[in-house]
Symmetry: C2
Subunit: 676 residues, 2 copies
């Protein structure tokens, strides 16, 4: 019996309209949260895409990586290649800033399926005369999709395959390379499958990946202790910052500082007259987030600073601290942007029982939240209009994620070269969410990761997991808020060690200076991470020429960073075993593998450490038996090393770390002996 004659016909519901789409595209990498957020790259960094692609049965597949730059109407395609186990890989290199899209597209390739079967039939000596006609039919179909001259050529192929020549000659024609190439140009993609969801990559300037930050308080830039520093003083400081090798100069807020509940030195409850106050208590009668503190100078001074910095290869980064002092103009003009209390006062910042009466947070649950968002975007646009291309965002984790998602996307649409650094020292998932939402770089836990295990596991998480696709670490050994006890107690070797770690573990790092290079290390009180006489509440003067300054080391290592592509990305980071739990060893290798840097750093600021480093030669691409040079870039010595195990001596009274360039097989061993 058959269905049609014997079983009652039931209405078939919901037959899809794409029942002949047979290829599956799944598990595409990279992607973030199932495509909810874009991945990140910088200009020229390849996007290597993999996907599971397969179909039912054993038919041949065609798989391409489709991509298009921002605003482009059409997609470009690159072939993808099988890696085995139904995994495919392809790549493209974005060269424009902004949001690029990419997708994996696959279809069953009937011609290549026919051809692979045909080849087996021929090899088995079967009669292939009918199969030649099947192939010719597929070619005629392709000709109908093509236009001349391809169409004509395809038709000629078909005619010859069906012709009267010897079957073996026709088989040879079918198995040649010309035909498949021509056929691949005119594929039958009616039933192509496109991976879901559509994926995107935000492409940013190189500085998003590789940057070297210096933070200073303009009010302390005056060479004269009696005078408040100015933006013009900062201009004078640019030569110093440039000689040290920094390419981002980050300034804490430069806006008017509130007077109501102003904090005094060392954060005492109330300021005395003349105390300068906290730059993050933004806003006075003179203005708010788009005004400049009168003692610092004018908007023209600021524009000159930006221009002068540019001549030094330095970009000025401004602080976006979205909160107000009680004297901020918004408090009068937009009282509904703050939370009112039943007694008619405005809710100041609190972390009960602590009170921060000098700061009013914005109320993002205000009925006029959209007006608040728009005003804050205007602040950013104002500074972009005045030449700023980098913003360090203060405490972004205390404002809604959707606000940042939106603000950064709005800015990026017009100005895709603008970068945002998230200063969120909070729970890991919150920090990662901010990064997913668009921040170009993020502060990290590095400041508190001081043991070997902590550093290895944290940097493995940051550079070897999916985190690398959306979170770009910017690591700081100190900030105006964090003087870690390692620096309080470890002396000069601790500063050196933490500096070398920051500058070589991460492609982006920063220091808060001149406190850092001058070894400022006294806390406000024992157990505190606050600086004594912190510049947050004080104007300070610094002796940049102090003989103990770390400036020479900093300048040299920053030059090494510029010269070595290996240090300009986090992708090539590999940890190597050492036999000393106070000695950390790791290498970085450039994408093209032409540049390899090995850093070995002691975490012990007191004792000489002599450790054996067991190099992962395979990861380094070094032959197990061969010799290779290890060039001491901080000391100019050249060592010849053999094999994986090498001893390193680190003396904290000299320098507790070494940065070596490994040059496998560059010089023959014999030559080298002579050289030594």
């Amino acid at each position: 019996m058959t269905v049609s004659s014997e079983s009652p016909r039931v209405v078939v519901r919901s037959i899809p309209d794409d029942g002949r789409v047979r290829a599956v595209v799944a598990a595409i990498t990279p992607q973030v949260d199932g495509g909810r957020f874009p991945i990140k790259r910088t200009v020229g960094e390849p996007v290597v895409v993999e996907a599971d692609v397969f179909a039912d049965g054993h038919d041949a597949l065609a798989v391409v990586l489709a991509h298009r730059p921002p605003g482009a109407p059409d997609w470009s395609e690159r072939p993808m290649h099988p890696l085995g186990n139904d995994r495919w890989r392809g790549e493209f290199v974005p060269v424009e800033l902004g949001r690029h899209e990419y997708a994996v597209v696959a279809w069953v390739d009937r011609f290549m399926t026919w051809r692979q079967d045909f080849e087996k039939r021929v090899a088995a000596g079967q009669d292939v005369s009918v199969d030649l006609r099947v192939g010719a039919g597929l070619i005629v179909e392709a000709a109908a999709r093509a236009s001349d001259p391809d169409a004509g050529e395809l038709r000629r192929f078909a005619t010859r395959l069906e012709g009267s020549a010897a079957a073996s000659d026709r088989a040879e024609l079918a198995l040649g390379t010309d035909l498949p190439e021509l056929m691949a140009t005119h594929p039958d993609r009616r039933f192509a499958s496109r991976g879901e969801p559509e994926l995107a990559v935000i492409v940013e300037p190189e500085r998003a990946r590789f940057s070297t930050w210096y933070e200073l308080f303009p009010r302390s830039a005056s060479p004269d202790p009696a005078r408040h520093g100015t933006l013009r003083d900062v201009i004078d400081r640019l030569g110093y910052v440039g000689r040290l090798g920094f390419d981002v100069l980050y300034l804490p807020p430069i806006h008017p500082i509130g007077r109501t509940f102003r904090k005094g030195p060392n954060n005492i409850e109330l300021a005395a007259p003349g105390d300068p106050g906290v730059p993050w208590a933004i806003g006075g009668t003179e203005g708010g987030h788009t005004a400049i503190h009168q003692e610092l100078g004018t908007i023209d001074d600021f524009r000159e600073l930006v221009a002068a910095a540019d001549r030094h290869g330095i970009q000025v980064a401004l602080d976006l601290a979205f909160q107000a002092s009680p004297d901020h103009p918004f408090v009068e003009e937009h009282r509904d942007w703050f939370r009112s209390r039943p007694d008619g006062t405005i809710q100041y910042a609190e972390n009960p029982p602590k009170k921060y009466q000098d700061i009013y947070p914005f109320d993002f649950e205000s009925d006029d939240w959209a007006g608040l968002w728009a005003a804050l975007l205007e602040v950013v646009r104002f500074w972009i209009g005045n030449g700023v291309r980098i913003f360090r965002v203060d405490n972004p984790h205390t404002k809604p994620f959707r606000f940042w998602d939106w603000l950064i996307a709005e800015v990026r649409r017009d100005d895709p070269d603008v970068l945002f650094l998230a200063e969120a020292f909070t729970r890991p998932k919150v920090m990662y969410r901010l990064a997913k939402g668009g921040f170009s770089q993020s502060y990290t836990y590095f400041t508190w990761r001081t043991t070997k295990d902590e550093l290895m596991s944290y940097f493995t998480e940051l550079t070897r997991t999916d985190v690398r696709e959306f979170f770009r670490p910017n690591v700081w050994p100190n900030t105006p808020d964090i003087l870690h006890e390692v620096l309080q107690h470890g002396g000069r070797p601790a500063f050196q060690s933490r500096f070398i770690l920051a500058a070589t573990l991460a492609a982006s790092y920063g220091i808060y200076g001149p406190a850092f290079e001058l070894g400022e290390h006294v806390p406000r009180e024992p157990g505190s991470e606050e600086y004594l006489d912190s510049e947050k509440y004080h104007q300070r003067t610094w002796d940049l020429d102090h003989p103990d300054s770390l400036a020479p080391l900093i300048g040299r290592l920053n030059r090494i960073r510029r010269e070595h592509p290996a240090l300009q990305s986090n992708d090539g980071l590999t940890f190597h075993a050492t036999d000393d739990d106070q000695v950390l060893a790791y290498s970085k290798t450039s994408r093209d593998r032409s540049d390899t840097i090995l850093a070995v750093v002691s975490l012990d600021p007191v004792n000489v450490r002599t450790a054996t480093v067991e190099l992962d030669l395979e990861a380094l691409g070094i032959e197990p038996g061969g010799a290779f040079e290890a060039v001491d870039l901080l000391g100019d010595k050249v060592n010849l090393w053999h094999g994986a195990r090498n001893r390193i001596r680190l003396d904290p009274s000299a320098l507790p770390g070494t940065v070596l360039q490994l040059r496998p097989g560059r010089r023959s061993e014999r030559e080298f002996e002579y050289y030594l």
Copy 2:
């Protein structure tokens, strides 16, 4: 200066309409491919859901797990609880068959935020009079969302909080438990966030999770070698199958067998007159997939078989082999469902250079693919109409995934108790994709996983990774297509060992009998996995009463499976270390932890093995110091074990495996010594 006065107003684009939604819901588990496919459970099995949930700042969150059964208009909700690190967990227990939905919903809880801050203020001895008014305001808002009596009670709370009683008394009221409970009943969910995408769980009968399969060829069920077996012979065999403890009886195709190019015994090219042919070459002039092979009986016989099996607690599983012999009625009626060749013939099955001329595959790229789909669904519905609730699907990986997705969803919508077993022995991603698309159970690589490492790594993948959410393994030591060399050469101990592994590693397993229990082990030729004189081409007669039959062992272990919930799920599988690479040890523990089974199985069919098992006591929930019983369920001996390390002797001449129930602390040690 302020934004409004000094910067040109730029039109702000695309402000979202939900800017006050602050909670983030992400990384929900379980989910398959970002929610593209449902997870699977059986009735009564809890769905434990976790998610990352957090918001900006430090406000309190309310998080619920929403779920609804198939067709229900409304969602039920269960609270979720924080696990730390912004991870939350909740669960629900589905009790209806079909597709349930679930979602995680979260919002900032302003009242609980207020309350947690309030508590700190009170503890710090601060003046809280204004804070009490803030709290009262939130309560009045809740009252507006409530109706009486709650509304009235809330208003009374508010009045008392704002009242003239001592602040300490009012604070006590605010910090009591009654108020938060009432407030939680009337939350402000205007800005709630709902995790995306919506997720689903397919809930199936318990047999989807826990089933014991027996495959037999009806044509060999005749006690008389001279007579073709019938469905009525199968009815007579039900007592035997039931005594062995099986609850699914799977029959290879029972339809008319094609005559054109029919295969002969041992798969020789052409059958002699009288050769019965291959049951998978479906269709003759008598009918196709909805007809019954005349020598087997009638549709009435089949209905009687289903009913009789039901009385034995057995469900009959039919084979869905969607292909046709050249004599199938579809070939005449729906020639467009097959692929035509230029010479006018129909394309038979091939794996070049091999040809299977007795079988025509359906062409799922046919222009009338939708008609083909509909007809095949009708086949399934026909057999459902005749009492079938389980289908074993032959080679599903040679038909489009979308076809199965659709067919199974269609069937399940009307008959959510119908199960499908995928017989796809192919690449892993293809097998997993079929399972994701809806198959209730899947054949596995178990048949070829014979070493300790292979078994451990494969079952770890199946039971300890996300695979468990969509892929239910059904493991077979043999099938009519696969006589593994371990069984060819290992004798009775190999059959015992492979049987114990199958029946205790997996909640669902099957054997192809009576070949299995009677130790059938001769291949068609050396190196082949085909049986000599395979029933695929032969009618056979079996001596079920043979003294060497494994039936007693099978019956006993299947009874143990029914008595021990630990063996009815794969969730509680843990491997334990042994000092012998031929001895595998693993335990299974029931969800409520009341039942623990330890299996120790030797893979060596020749030598006695004495191995030390190092139990993972923590996984078993056994105190390190204590004694516990190990009851030998296949041998009735009771051992008293102390601590993790225990020696086990396995003698292949007796039984190369042992199945022990572990009963921690059930009897005091002293008592036990006496008992011994």
